[in-house]
Structures are given as C-alpha cells and as structure tokens.
Amino acid sequence: MTGTGTLLRFMLRRDRMRILWWTLGIAALYAGAAGEYLSLDDPAARSARAVLVSSPAMISMSGPGYGLDDYTPGAAVANELILWVVLAAAVMSILQVVRHTRAEEENGSAELVRAGTVGRHAASVAALLLVVVMNAAVALASGAVLAAQGLDAGQAFAMTSAIALGALVFGAVALVAAQAHEHGRGAVGLSLAVLGAAFLLRALGDVQERHGSALSWLSPIAWVQQTRVFVDLRWWPLGLCAAAGVLLLAVAARLAARRDVGAGLLAVRPGRRDARATLTGPLPLAWLQQRASLGWTTLGLGAMWLASGTIIRQVPTMLDAIQGNPLYDALLGTGEDMVRTFLGIFGLYIAVGAAAFGVAATLRARSEEEAGRTEVALAAPVSRYRWLAAPLTLALVGAVVVQLTGALALWAGAASTGYDALDVGEYLRLGAAYLPALGVLVGFTAALHAWLPRGTGLAWALLGYVFVVGMFADLFGLPGWARRISPFWWVGNPALGDVEAARLGGLAGVAAVLFLLAFAGFRRRDVPRV
C-alpha cells in the first residue's frame, strides 16, 4: 500500500471542486426540504402528514414509518429524507470510486502510476479513503444545516453519520464492481444496479409491513433507516453496514490479487475472423454496441417493476385500519384512487429509468467521438446525418422499449397476484403518455452533443431535475415556472387520467425541433471537438 498517502493527496486536489459541489448539493437538499418539515408544529399538521406518508405510494418513496404517532419535524426528516440522501451519497461514492480505480485503468493512467513506487492496493485504498473524506464532509455540512434549522444537534449528526456509513457500503460495492468489470461505465452500471435493487427491496419490504419486513433488512438503505434516529435511536443496525463494508472490501482485495492491471475477471474470448453479413453500416454497429446494455437494462428494470407490481394488490387493503378516517379519505381518496396514486409514482420511476437509458445511449455518440472512432467512420463515405442517426435511433427505440416493457412488467406483476381492477391497456397508456417527454430528453442530449459537446453533463442534470420536480416539487415548494422546465411536468398525471393531448403534441414538437437542431449542428461543426 506504499504511496497511498501521495495518491490520496493528489485525488483530493484533483477533485476539490467535485467535493465542494457534492457537499453543497446535498446540504442544499436538506435546506430546501427543511421548511416543509419545520412547519409541522401543530398536532393537526403532524397527524395529517403522518397519514399522508403511510400510504403505500409514499412508503415506497420515504421510509419505514417510525414516529408516526408523534410525527415531529425530526421524525419526518428521518423518515422521509434518509432514503434520498443515502441514494445521492451512494451515487457520489460509486462515481468517485470507479473514477479513481477502473476508469483510470481503462484510460491507461493507472499503468503509469502503478509503475512508480506504488503498492498494488494503493489506488483502491486511496479511492476508498477519498470517499470516506467526502462522506464525512457531507455528514458534517448536512448535520450542521439540520442543527442550524433548530433540530436536535446530537440526533442530526447521528443521522448524517449513519447516512455516510450507508453510502460507504455502496462505495465498497463499486470497488468490487471495479475489479469485476473491465470498463468504468460497466462498473458504474453494475454498482447502480445494486443500488437500485437496494432501493426496491427496501420499498417492497416496508410496504409489506410497517417498520419493515424481512425483505427490507436485505437493503443497506434500510439499515440506516432502522436506526430510528430522532425517534428512539439505536446504533446496532449500523453494525450491518460495517460488516457488509468489511466483507465487500475483503472480496475486492481477493479479486484484485487475482487479476492483471487493466484486465477484468472474465477472460476475453476470441472474436470472429470476418464480420457478420449484417454489419453494413453505422446503425447495425450501434446495435451491436448497445444491444447488451439495452437487454440488461430492459431485463433488470423489468424485474424491478414486475416485483413492484406484485404489491399493487395489497395497496387498497393494507390501510384498512385507518379506512373511514375522514382525514385519510380527504387526503388520499379511497380504493382504486389509491392504486392510481401509487401507479402514478411508479409511472414516473419507470419513465426516469427509460430516460436514463435514452440519455446514456445518446451519449455513446460523444464517447465514440472522444475515443477517435467517429473520425475513422466519417473518413469513409458516411454522411454526418447517417452517423448521428445511428445512436439516436438506438436511444429512442431503446427508451421506448424500456418504457413499455416497464409498464407491461408492472401490469404482469399485478396480474400475477390476481389484481385485475385495471386492465393492461391502462398500464400501457400510463407508459405511453411519457414517450413524447422521453423524446425531449433524448433530443436535448443530442442537441448538446452537437452544439455544446463539453456540456453533455447537462443532460444528466436535466434528468436529475426532472426527477426532483416529479418527486419533490411540493416538498420544496417549487414555483410554477420551475416546474414547467421539466418535460415530465407537461405529461401531467397519466395514472389519474390527467393528460392533455395538446400538451403531449407540444412535447413531441419540442422533441422534433431538438432533433433538427442536433442534426443541423452536428453537420456544421468540427469533428472531433473535445
């Protein structure tokens, strides 16, 4: 592990802006949400909020529901925010770990470093220490924000430290993925899939049973929530985080010791001597390049939505205990309406997953250009239009496939448990309503690639913003104009039949304009522009 300190200092220096932005960003998440919770100062408001968050739809996007009897601002913060902050910090940890391990190996700079007086595990250990530092910074800053809002400082710091520990588990997952997968992008994908599974297990487990079922306990996110911070703090669930972290690190070390620098764990099989007859142009090539990621995304997300569908049947019955409570009826409606609210949330999740595939598939055009392959192809008699159309076709068709199979999987999950109050058409309509908005996101990404190739990260920022508006617009009290920036806002709430054809048409028009811009811009700009 010689050289770990030097590497760590170098990473801290390289990433100082990233550290700052992640810390400020997560602290701002707390600051933005705090107002809503601090307004819970009278008993009526508290019990109203407690009822609201005991609906299955809300449980799937909050926590196991500790402290609902006396839903203080602290209990509300713990119940509703931990999930999202763990997600954000986990994404941060995953990206940072892969950035400093597998991505470095992939672009060859690790070879230079490893040739120096640097131990085999130094880069991994330094990357891990880096995310420890980052998570600690996030924990301190966000704990301070909560304490400054008037919440109990001890509980606040206990909560943010627990979140940091939970996020570090995913950092360790990323370290294992970085050993197993030969490409940085693949390692990130694998880690995010684990994070998605943790999100889903927690949601399904908590919806099944108040305060979590056995299923919940499979998820590191639940371990953080089960500390019951701000209600009845217990530390032992965090032992699970520590144990899982140590176990994952041991696995990563074993894997690292068994492989060469730059290699994955799986041996590379020899390929074909000649290309298959169908490989005739950019579109078949894009298909070859992306079919695996499309297949796995469809399958992985489909499995998630299928599992989610199986709980729909329980939605109308699970709150029998408080059926008839007038406050509850006023807030949530009854029976089928509750199912529809739940479906609305899942419609949004499905669409965000499909949009993420669309954005990633479009950005393949960018990585092809950065790697110098676009040049090689454009030096052949291939027009700019034909070249750009290939990844865009894959992105659009892929997003539609992921979206509609997601909707079908949700239906299949519900149908498999015998729930048939809504027919398959309802689910498909729910999925299809988002298609024009998905087109806008893909078109926006393509236009960025054409006009502002260095700013393609903005596509992910927009997707993140779309998600924030969909989930937290009310919580943050976002003004109307800020909501209208999100293409998904214009979709309305398709599960409740609240969709205007004119708006969908408008979205389709915006998407078309963005695609025209993308093609016009890519035709006239320099390649490569990096």
Binding site: E182, V268, P270, G271, R272, R273, D274, A275, R276, L279, T280, G281, L285, L288, Q289, A371, G372, R373, E375, V376, A377, L378, A379, A380, P381, V382, S383, R524, R525, D526, V527, P528
Partner: protein, 315 residues
C-alpha cells in the same frame, strides 16, 4: 488535364486563440507520393482533418479531385482511404470485423477479390484477425487500419504517421505496399516525422512548420538547397578552407600522415570548393549527400537550439 488529387491553397484554421494553420499550400498530383513532414504540433493532423471534411477551414481552399473537401465529403471519400496515427477501433469487435466494417463503409463490393486480398494482407502484416480490438497493441490497431486501407484500393491514400507503432519488419512490408500503390498510379499523402521512411517511398516532400509550408519540392530539388558533408584526409594546411564562402562547421584533427578535416558545404558552392580541396593533396575523400535528417534539422534547428541562427535564414 485531370484535377490534382489534393489541392490546398492558403488554408487557415484556428482553434480559439491557437492558430493551427496559417496559410498552407499543398498539392498532390495523380500518381504522386508526397511526404508531409513536420514536428509534432506543426499542423499535419489538422491539415489532414480539413482534407477529410472533419474540420471546417476558416479560409482558403481544400479540394480533393477538384471537389470541395467539406461540402462534397461523402462522394469524395469513396475515392480515398485514411489511416490515422493513433487508430481507435471498436473495442468489442475483432480486428477482422473492424476491417470488414471499414471496407463495407467504403462501398467496395467485389467480394471474391476482397477476400483473397484480405487473406494476403493479413498474412503479410502478421495480424491475427480474431483478437478483440481492445486487446490489440497500438501497432496492431495500426495494422488493422492499414489492411483496411490497402484493401479498398482507392485513388488516394491519406496516411497520418501510419508506421509510428510498427516494428522495422512491418515497416518494410508497409513500404512495399506503398510502392505497389505508386506503381498502380495512385496518389499518397504520407505524413510522418520518420525521415528515412519518407526518403524511401516519396517523390516529393512538403515540410510544414507552424501551420505553413516552409519547403516544398522533389527530394532532389530540396537537396540542392542543402549542404554536402565532406570528410577528407589532406597533406596541406586546411585553414584556407575555412575562409571560403559556403563552407561551414570546419573541424580539423591531426591524423596519421596528414590532417583530417570534416566540413559541410552549401551545394551551390560545391563547384568552387572542390578545386581548393584538390590543391591540398587529397589522400582520402568522402562526400555524403544530405539526408532529410539534415534538411529537417536545418528547418527546425532553431527550435532545438535557439543560438543557431542559420535555420531562420534558410526560410
């Protein structure tokens, strides 16, 4: 008369505040093999990317076979093949797949001839086509691009430092294929900083520096602008040589039974200097024609050694 394969006139291109090309002229006639020499950062790759319609020139003209390199890029590319200096391939495809893909993009259809020639090229370049592109070394990736280029047999080859990753044996194979191409009357633009390679295969040379051509002509013409290295053992006192115009870098060392001198002489003055040498009792004499190496060093000498003013004068 047919249009030149490449015709560049007063080409300018800047990236932000960096001026990559500052009024470049370059012509390649049909059947000509032109060397394109210059140090790193001189603008060789930028020129080639403009020719390929990848970059849009700020001003000036870049024409291929009489067509506009930017506007008519797609039809023009049917007549050329490009090998970049650092070849990027699709990592999940095998080398053989990459070759087939590039050939198919070029639009060649005569499958029987292609298959036979592909087998020959693979064998000559000793390339295993079944390995995935991501496992290839730089040299092997370059071989893939070279095989694809020689397979398509276009009218014009645009080669950007094509041998920078090849070993000497493979370089020899490459040289041989370029000669074949030349014999078939096709044109080549060969960018390089490996002078011996350019000397071996090129008829004409353009030297580029800071985005503009500083020398252009046949190898023989360029040699006229340069100096011949003379080494001799003389009986007499060589001091008079130092005073003659056109003699440079005179070094005198005592030698068995005489005096060894080495000096460079401007080729234009050679006729005046040799008689003077003759009067000094020549025991032995060798005269070496200038290599491109020296040509090159004269043009870039001031970059290597700022105290030497002669290179600036040569422009």
């Amino acid at each position: 008369m047919t249009a030149p394969a490449i015709e560049i006139h007063d080409l300018r291109k800047s990236f932000g505040s960096v001026q990559a090309l500052t009024g470049l002229d370059l012509t390649v006639q049909p059947g000509e093999v032109r060397g394109f020499l210059g140090p790193n950062g001189a603008g060789k790759s930028t020129t080639i990317r403009v020719l390929l319609g990848l970059l849009r020139a700020d001003s000036g003209t870049a024409r291929l076979f009489g067509g506009d390199a930017w506007r008519d890029a797609v039809p023009l590319h049917r007549r050329l093949a490009y090998v970049p200096g650092d070849v990027s391939l699709w990592p999940s495809l095998s080398g053989g797949e990459c070759i087939d893909y590039l050939v198919r993009l070029s639009g060649r259809k005569d499958h029987a001839r292609l298959a036979a020639r592909k087998a020959e090229l693979l064998e000559r370049f000793e390339l295993d086509p079944r390995k995935k592109a991501r496992t290839y070394s730089k040299g092997n990736r370059q071989k893939v691009a070279l095989v694809a280029a020689f397979l398509t047999e276009p009218d014009l080859y645009v080669l950007d430092e094509p041998t920078s990753g090849l070993d000497p044996l493979m370089e020899a194979v490459f040289t041989q294929y370029v000669r074949e191409v030349k014999d078939a009357g096709r044109s080549v633009l060969l960018s390089s900083h490996i002078l011996s390679e350019v000397e071996k295969v090129c008829d004409t040379v353009t030297i580029i520096r800071n985005g503009a051509a500083v020398e252009s002509g046949t190898l023989d013409e360029l040699r006229h602008l340069t100096r011949t290295s003379v080494s001799a053992v003389l009986d007499g006192d060589p001091a008079v040589l130092g005073a003659l115009p056109g003699v440079h870098d005179l070094v005198v060392t005592p030698s068995d039974g005489g005096t060894r001198v080495t000096f460079d002489v401007d080729d234009a003055r050679l006729g005046a200097v040799l008689p003077a040498v003759g009067t000094l009792g020549v025991q032995r004499l060798t005269a070496t024609p200038p290599s491109l190496e020296e040509l090159f060093l004269r043009h870039y000498g001031d970059a290597l050694d700022p105290s030497e003013p002669h290179a600036a004068g040569a422009r």
